[in-house]
């Protein structure tokens, strides 16, 4: 690259300057590289899982290997990809720019977070590779985990350490949003992406410490047998599930809320229209963040928790469905009388609406007490949460990466390749996961290495599983294609203009094409809302009389 302008990418040179950077944009790039690598790893593991399940009986993995592979797939995808990715990559890169700040509030803490994250990630992956192949599933349920191999100690420590990265990132964002907004950037002028990251940060700060202490207790249970969770010692395994889900359910909102924020920004920009229900979407992000803490027990309807708590949790679960539904309606309504531009990021936004709506509606099904008794721990649940986590969170992330790509790299990607990859991802995703709804509602349990026994009753399982596996390959091809054209764009992509999408938020209107090391030359003065395209003569030129 021979950049002529002075920007954050070329402000300092060499690997060392990257590893010691406190620039939020560079830290965002560091997260992008790390999360990208882990996503690749998690994806390869998923391909192994799907290949094993493609045909009945043992195909490529033995039972133990299969259990180890899906465990690492879960741990990597949840703790090392979906939870850190959007806040880590886009939150870091975009949030300070969107609020008009020159950096986050605590840049050194921000870098420390990345190192903590990497330390946790390496502990998890290296522990799994070199110490012992843990097969507990990412949920670490006791007493299975407390009786498993000692390598569990590595994984629990890894989650503990990576948790602190998440806490400090969230803490940084909350303080940045509260204290570092540019003049004129009132709360109701914050872009919805920033609102969403802010809400996410609240969850990160409040929920993550609990997984920390849970992991400490599990660690001690495994190492010293303290008898809090292990029933053989008088402990209560269901209590572990409470502790675990007190974090891990809100963690679902750590995953999905930022993606919702991205979608809001995309819908506004690519419809060139005021985002319908702005105030509602903003506040519902915060509302979802809080309500997300009250519903963890819906993972436990058949676990042996009291009927009373199942009923309370089921009721609260529906409360959270309502603001979520209204968000979807508002996103669709945003296009009304807009000017819809179907570029790649917008394709992902529409894809998100399609997939997330399925994920949300099936969420209602598994939230209903009686129906969940049948569907719990079957492939129906697997399909449901992949529609939410991958179809929601990761598709949102991919859309966001396409949208902010020119800002991050100064280059454009090939639009045609982008559209083809998006179509492949869409087809592959639905083939992979929609078939699993049928498998699950018929009764195929999750985490199964083999389903031969079911074929007698349900001969269609063979075809459904094969379809799902083929779908996963198509999905894989689509994702690899994105990686290829993205890398190509870095080297050969045409130079981007400062505001290629005609967006009205500060990162597009008040910084260089590729932002300067210190973001803004002059402190921006904000005079309009983030989606006031009709007022943005500075972006579009004076309005023509019609």
């Amino acid at each position: 690259m021979s950049d002529t302008s002075h920007n954050y990418l070329n402000a300092k040179k060499g690997l060392w300057s990257w590893l010691t950077t406190t620039d939020h944009k560079r830290i965002g790039i560091l997260y992008a590289i790390a999360c990208g690598a882990f996503f690749l790893l998690g994806g390869i593991l998923a391909t192994f899982v799907r290949t094993e399940l493609g045909a009945p009986g043992e195909t490529i993995l033995g039972q133990d290997e299969y259990n180890q592979v899906f465990t690492l797939h879960g741990v990597v995808m949840v703790f090392l990809v979906i939870i850190p990715a959007i806040p880590g990559i886009l939150g870091n890169f975009v949030l300070p720019l969107q609020v008009g700040a020159n950096d986050v509030a605590f840049p050194r803490l921000n870098l420390a977070s990345w190192y903590l994250f990497m330390a946790g990630a390496l502990m998890a992956v290296c522990g799994w590779l070199f110490v012992g192949k843990v097969d507990t599933g990412w949920t670490f349920y006791t007493p299975y985990s407390s009786g498993a191999s000692n390598a569990v100690l590595w994984l629990t420590s890894a989650v503990f350490v990576a948790g602190f990265a998440s806490i400090f990132t969230g803490l940084n964002f909350i303080v940045t949003v509260h204290k570092m907004r540019a003049p004129g950037m009132t709360w109701n002028r914050l872009p919805l992406f920033t609102w969403a990251i802010y809400a996410t940060a609240i969850v990160q700060v409040l929920a993550t410490p609990v997984i920390g202490i849970t992991m400490v207790l599990l660690f001690l249970e495994k190492l010293l047998h303290i008898g809090i969770f292990d029933p053989a010692l008088g402990g209560d395994p269901v209590l572990f599930q409470h502790f675990f889900w007190f974090y891990s359910h809100p963690a679902v909102y750590i995953m999905i809320l930022p993606a919702m924020g991205i979608i809001s920004d995309l819908m506004g920009t690519f419809s060139r229209q005021h985002v319908s229900g702005y105030t509602f979407i903003a506040l519902s992000s915060v509302a979802i963040a809080f309500l997300g803490f009250l519903v963890w027990g819906h993972h436990m309807f058949v676990s042996g928790q009291s009927a009373l708590s199942s009923i309370i949790f089921s009721m609260l679960t529906f409360l959270i469905g309502i603001p979520t539904g209204i968000k979807v309606f508002n996103w669709v309504a945003t296009m009304y009388k807009g000017s819809v531009w179907l570029k790649t990021p917008m394709l992902y936004a529409l894809m998100f609406l399609f997939l997330f709506t399925i994920g949300g509606l099936t969420g209602i099904m598994v939230g209903v007490l009686a129906v969940d008794v049948h569907l719990h721990d079957t492939y129906f649940v697997v399909a449901h949460f992949h529609y939410v986590m991958m179809g929601g969170a990761l598709i949102g992330l991919i859309g966001g990466l396409h949208y902010w790509w020119p800002k991050m790299t100064g280059r454009m990607y090939n639009e045609k390749a982008g559209v083809i990859a998006a179509i492949l991802v869409f087809i592959g995703f639905n083939l992979t996961f929609f078939t699993q709804f049928f498998l699950g509602s018929k009764g195929m349990p999750r985490r199964y290495h083999d389903y031969s026994e079911f074929l007698e009753t349900f001969p269609e399982f063979a075809a459904l599983n094969m379809t799902s596996t083929i779908g996963s390959y198509i999905l894989g091809v689509g994702l690899v294609m994105i990686l290829i054209y993205a890398l190509y764009s870095l080297v050969r992509g045409p130079r981007a203009t400062a505001n290629p999408w005609g967006a009205c938020t500060l990162e597009w209107t008040h910084t260089e094409t590729v932002p300067d090391e210190h973001n803004f030359h002059d402190t921006p003065l904000v005079t309009r809302g983030p989606y006031d395209y009709h007022l943005a003569d500075d972006v579009f030129g004076p309005k023509k009389e019609s």
């Binding site: 803490f293 042996g304 928790q305 009291s306 009373l308 708590s309």
Partner: protein
């Protein structure tokens, strides 16, 4: 340069310290008297009062930006949520006529344990 933080007078700090010491003495004394069911709530009330005193005066929440107070309040609320919803399970197993797993008490070892 505008930098006028509230300086808490020594007199107030001292009074708070003395009150905290007094409350400690009270909690020790009351805990050693058998008040039946009241022992636990009383001790918790005293502890909470002490914590509030420390937070408001020593930590200056009373004079501080209200956002900080809000953050603390949120933290406390979610501790209560955590406790309350967990108790909705642990304290109500086997209730409502639903066949619920009840805890199987292990047979107490034949030690010379006499209950209080």
């Amino acid at each position: 340069m505008a930098h006028s933080h509230h300086i808490i007078p020594i007199r107030i700090l001292t009074v708070v310290f003395v009150v905290l010491l007094a409350l400690t003495v009270i909690t020790v004394i009351t805990a050693r008297i058998d008040l039946g069911v009241l022992n636990v709530p009383l001790a918790l009330t005293i502890a909470t009062s002490k914590a509030i005193l420390v937070a408001l005066i020593f930590m200056a929440l009373k004079y501080d930006n209200k956002v900080n107070l809000l953050a603390v309040a949120l933290g406390v609320i979610f501790v209560v949520v955590f406790l309350a919803l967990t108790f909705a399970d642990t304290e109500f197993r086997g209730s409502m006529g639903i066949t619920e797993p009840a805890i199987v008490e292990p047979v107490p070892e034949s030690s010379g344990y006499d209950s209080p």
